[in-house]
Subunit: 193 residues, 2 copies
């Protein structure tokens, strides 16, 4: 079942790196957790980096569906959708902490902090993920302006980028404080402080 | 000159880890850059982690003097001081990029993203640095409320924590985009979006 092995390698590196970082994890451990022989690894991916870049794309697809898409769905007013982004992230961190004892933070932000200077392909990949995240938020902010929930002089592209920065910073502080409730309480400051 | 060697080890690990991360850097390389023999290393520090914790304290002392203290000095109105925090960080990143080709981001945030789950003493140290940073901002926000620059219903402790999160997120996005100008432009959204 080659496809299944590929999928298990993607899940394995994502889980290991999210907790411990990219440089602390080796191909051997990734294979062991995936239940895949090391020889097979190089049948699917030419390097640990190539696996990580593929895992980042898959992680974004999942994040877009379960976190970003769910939070920003149009069933509630636009401002409430932005709050819901933080609430859903808080719920995920509460779950992570109850399972592992640790708040994990954003997988993209953590990795960007670690490798942006040393790995150009991964840096570009995460930069691209942040841009797609900002585009999704920008659409919500345009609706908030149209609905009169945000001031007319809001610049949606730069306000969306600022929100991505705030979201990343909040998740980093929660990881550093090991406290999921920070994501929820600081989320209340997302559109006004 | 033992004191000088100790100082060079602190500077060496700070510089190497800021660019490349904690797990990518070993004691041998830290010693080589510092011009200190590996045998002497353990005369000053019992481990790489002990050196890093000492380097974090020194880095905060320097950051407090040159960035936080300089930005939040009372020679301009309180809101302007907060903007100046981002402007000074932008200038430091412009300098880093012109020297090395890379925006480096915040040394505390980068390290927290990498090691918070795996290293409890370092996590606690950085958590403590963020708390001291928030206290400095909180004093400025209290003055902004007193001066009528911020609304009376501002809660300075939580607004200060939100600003630390925003500052960390902005620096992370600038590192990921490798663009120092982001720190300046997103800094304009620090107290209102």
């Amino acid at each position: 079942m080659p496809t299944d092995a590929r999928h298990r390698l993607l899940a394995s590196i994502s889980g290991l790196v999210h907790a411990r970082g990219y440089n602390a994890v080796g191909v051997e451990e990734i294979c062991r957790r995936a239940g895949v022989k090391k020889g097979s690894f190089y049948h699917f991916f030419r390097s640990k980096r190539a696996l990580m870049v593929a895992a980042l794309e898959q992680c974004w697809q999942e994040t877009e569906a379960t976190l970003v898409g769910a939070a920003l769905a149009a069933d509630v007013p636009p401002r409430r959708r932005v709050e819901r982004l933080f609430d859903l992230a808080a719920a995920a961190e509460e779950d992570a902490k109850s399972r592992s004892g640790h708040v994990l933070g954003c997988p993209f932000g953590n990795l960007a902090a670690e490798i942006s200077v040393t790995d150009e392909p991964m840096r570009r990949k995460i930069d691209d993920v942040f841009a797609r995240f900002a585009q999704a938020i920008e659409r919500t902010l345009r609706e908030a302006v149209a609905a009169g929930e945000l001031s007319d002089d809001t610049d949606p592209p730069s306000a969306a980028r600022a929100l991505v920065a705030y979201f990343e910073g909040v998740r980093l502080l929660a990881r550093t404080h090991n406290d999921p409730s920070l994501v929820r309480t600081l989320g209340r400051h997302a559109l006004s402080r």
